[in-house]
Point group: D4
Chain length 217, copies 8
């Protein structure tokens, strides 16, 4: 099955926004997985380069922002509609970063959201390994190749291995999310996960503002 | 003014719960300050000893739990009603601790809440000193005596200085809260503060559960 | 020999308790090795999933607790009898964890006990590597596979490799224990080991209570 | 009261051992407090200089070892009898150090013992300050002068302030012990304290042997 | 002399910019000292509140920015002219912070500059205390009161003690600068100091950009 | 291509200085890459052993200093001319070290310079790996062999693998430099890089002088 | 050559002391290498198990102490004579440990000595890797197998690989010493090395006594 | 007595060297105390400013080096003769620093020496406070004023308090040395102290060379 997941559909590649049709397609779905690639971890310095989206049928869209040095309102209007559509759950791994980036560059208030990293921490209490690679290995028996994780996502022609990597991150997140969701259910921690994940937009605002340890003594 | 605040009304002292009349009194108010004293920082080991409540008129109630080794449902029903009353804002300093304790011992879902520690962090960005003592010194020019902060709140007869300390914590929190509230307003951070403070119940659940660094990478 | 140990008898698998006959069998023995698998390191959050027992003949019993969210008195009465039987030495590796878990979930006061980790520290003074894997490699020349150590021991159908791992932990502990016991004897530290191991129930109580560094200055 | 305690009886000063009569006197008592002064924290390097003993009537004995460079069996036979007398509880503050020193120099197996530091940690959970000075200040309202704590206890003529300091350490420990004992009783932790304190001889052996973190993972 | 310095001329207080006349006055001078007060250490979050300027005659100007939430080009044009005037040396203590703030809010490229902190590090090699308070104490025998250093510089009416503090920071910097300058001369390190101080604009850009440890291995 | 780079021209080997002709050759070039090998990281203790130079045509010169225990003025006059020639850009990786060494031993004021480490930090913001080996792997797909990096560069006969290593460091730096230069251009950070790199001579002086953290608070 | 070194002569194995003849043999030599194996790093707890000696001809002697729980004067008199013979240089790697052990168990004042670890630090300034394994790899191109370094040297029958390991440590030290000696000579640091190595007996005394950081501020 | 010591004789002040007569005077003495003042802790950067010398009669000489930017051989020939005179013991507190400085600037091989810091560490094992101020307080009951310790010792006119401080450091060291010497005698550690102090010249060489942790593993 993993083999199938990784190789299945060829990702579609768009500049700056989703086409209307593709947006319409995703809006009929209960959930999509979302990931972003940037030039680094400091949004105001390291710009957004790519948004990856996948639905449960494996339809992957890669939206490219090559020269997006500044945040802008009339940018990715369709992506933003999807991110803010109340009927579609947006599933991230470590949403804290992506949701902040999407707010910074697209001014998007992403909602509703799920985060497999927080889900994993709440239910895989027997380990402290909660990277996407760790989840992939244990939950769906796929060994992910993270070589391109820290690469130049702003370069002119993205390499095949970069595109493959980008697509896989959202493709594999679909079955991983389902496993985490089921484990939370089994352990009666679904409600707790929702409560914690609902804090993420506040945490993102605080991160973008520059505060650290806001909850600490 | 500070002098007046500290000495004003004598606190009323109750065993295990607020009298009905006192509850009725508080329920007509827009806000009360709340503090708790325990035997330490680990709720399941260090029991709740005292709940302090104060309104804007300086009416202070101290509710005592001397032998409360276990959480219990039929305990402090009036206190719980007040803590859960939607019309009365409950103001804490470092709500993260008190809200968790009140959930653990009274099974109370305290709401709505405000936390002057989080407020201070968001608006007094020029300092990293956000203890109640620091806020008291700077914002209302009162030097608090914290000698009894770490004392034996379960002992038979609480000393006068303990009672004074306990009452002052909630009395002084009234004008401190107002200052923090006004500063947040002036700096356009009221909404941000609300967003962050709304995360506290989730943070408390996670604390009681035993997770740490739930939002971290 | 190691080969033989690892492959020998198929472990027997029971739900919630040992059958009477199996208990009777073990009660005739001078010692058994015992291990537990849980959902993590915090007993009140991460429940007990499995108890493994082995005797010197290689008779392994795996007792499963799939839905054991709470401690309970009428649970595993036969296991408890074995754990408390004065005639049978219970040998653990890092007893500090297992003895606490067994007290928390079965209310068992495990006794008498031996801990190969403490034994190893007292006698293998030439190294700071005292994991079961280290002992197995050096003392009985078996390379243990610890892949499943941190896995989901609460899932519906435990995998073959999980069962194999669980059984091996107690099987291999038999010859390891004997080596450690002999080394302590050779180095005249048997009495010291007993003295130190007798402290473990107190250490477990202190751990469950939430204290840390109780012996430190 | 504190005033009285500090000034009361003049301590008696002996070379190398207690006189028979004084031993007989102490053997009729249910408890004595004991403290030692050494040249530092490493028994084999920093020799024993003084043993202080006090009973509930404030009878203080100071036993001096001025040239005791080596441990010796026929040294302080009466002190040893008292330390090993099962009918007399020996109360220390941080017994872990004193019991090790007394074993090293007098070969005494001190028993039974109580340790106010461990008692305090178990019951004064609201603080992390458990020095004798802290206990004295909070529990009996006496501010101890610790100037001479780190002084040259091997010098020819001990100063008056050294003698005063040495005597006070055991005198004040009497009422401090009683408070800690009562608090443990009130909090139902008497049995836990006994269980933990019974580990101290093993901890001392491990300390003298040179092991560290024997209970850790 | 110190007394004279501290009390001398009353500072003049301006909103948003220096008057033309005052600018003309300062432009005839070889040097001015400059300091800024902000709401904290993160320029994009903690806005500029005050710029203090002093010349060698003790003419102090305080320029207030009460509502300056955003950087702006048409703000403080006269201040900017002074900061960029090549004929007037701008002396700071820890210029790294002030120069970055002035670039962020006024878009000013401050030049030429001197930094007494770097000067002090290069020449007061016998100490690691290089705060303005330390320099003031040693070099001009004035004990500075830093109470208001971390205070709310955005509040409506600045207190007398805040104004006094703000003026003193630039007043006292005049004689301190002269001492540091002379010491550098005496120790043949004037050129080295200039070379190092000329790096500060680059360091400020890197700071504002979000890089850390840019020179490190 | 990488293959070609690594194997291309045989390096020329000189004692103490470049021949006049070779200097003339390099002086016609817009840029050379430069590296040094020493006996360690402390210039006054660990002497200079080798200077490597390469131009864009792959002409590599290795200048050897075998017995250079002291700095000296009449040493490497041609090398010094090249290092100080304003028409030839000297490209280093971590120039901070090499420029200091060249100042210490040759009294050369190297200028103009470029540093690929600083360039990489400014533009490869997606990673914290900025060693020459990391840049080589990502930017020109060559896996460098660093075995000889820490070897005895003062020994009589340098081994073939040492010579190969020494030559490769400057050969590969040519294409790496060009990539970094282009990335800086693409990201509009060329000017920032120049500004930061111009600080390096000051940083070197401060390093040689013995100061640390000169820019820190 | 390395191959030859490792395999050459079979080591001779003695209980408790060297035979007279073997002592006589070694006393004619200008130098021997010496190593010790113990049960750990704390001499008073972890007893001496083996002394290895080798001369430049590869004559290796292993002297075994199987039951040597206490230091003793009439133990290894011939070994002691060799260790104290002024005409024979004793070469160790990290002499600080071995010299202390030999003083503790044999009461030997080893002299004269050389330490290749200190020699390496003084002359291989280009690296911070100074283990015997590192020296062996770089200086004589032999990859040492350290598997048995931390093994049970007190066990009844030492394994072949233990004996091989023990012999190799002293065999390989011969050519390593010669290289280090030559490098010190080449770098004019022979005298410095002697001066530093002469401090080792004092450092050993201080170590055995229990002091740490005796030279530090 | 302390009073007397501090106020006794006025120190004599010399430029660059001791007069012949004063040298002759000191050469008749069995011991002098010596201290140095510099511009900081890095000899090659922070030059020597003052050498203080005192004998047992309280004859204090202060030798000033105001412009001594470089080490020089024909500088302080008389001081050097005294420092190298085998008949006069030179007593320092933390000789490691002073002996290195005197070697660096005067090329003096100071001998014989004593260090009260090492002496104190060896014999005042009951404390970790071994500064001169600590020794002065405990051993001779004088509270030293260290205000001028970190001051500008190169300035033109040294202040009275600087001169007083400089003289006291050597004056008070006389009785402190005697106490430490007697304590070492009493504790049978005179020989150990000598052995350790004899290592200091090697440690100084290693320090000046730039090595750290030369004795460590």
């Amino acid at each position: 099955m993993a083999e199938m997941l990784v190789k299945s559909l060829k990702p579609d590649f768009y500049e700056l926004d989703l086409p209307d049709e593709r947006l319409k397609h995703y809006l009929t779905k209960p959930l999509v997985t979302v990931d972003t690639e940037t030039r680094g971890l400091i949004p105001r310095r390291d710009r957004l380069c790519l948004i990856q989206i996948c639905d449960e049928d494996g339809v992957v869209s890669l939206v490219r922002y090559k020269h997006q040095f500044q945040a802008s309102d009339n940018l990715g209007a369709n992506v933003k509609k999807l991110l803010e559509a109340q009927s579609v759950l947006k599933v991230f791994h470590f949403a804290r970063f992506d949701v902040a980036v999407l707010k910074y560059y697209l001014n998007a208030v992403v909602s509703p959201i799920f985060c497999t990293k927080i889900g994993s921490k709440l239910v895989r209490t027997y380990t402290d390994r909660h990277s996407l690679k760790d989840l992939s290995r244990e939950l769906i028996k796929v060994e992910m190749d993270k070589t391109d994780q820290s690469s130049d996502w702003a370069k002119d022609g993205l390499s095949d291995s970069q595109l493959e990597y980008a697509a896989n991150d959202v493709r594999l997140l679909i079955p991983i999310y389902k496993q985490i969701r089921d484990l939370l259910e089994r352990e009666n921690r679904t409600e707790l996960a929702q409560k914690v994940i609902q804090c993420l937009p506040a945490v993102c605002d605080v991160d973008l503002g520059g505060w650290t340890n806001i909850f600490e003594h």
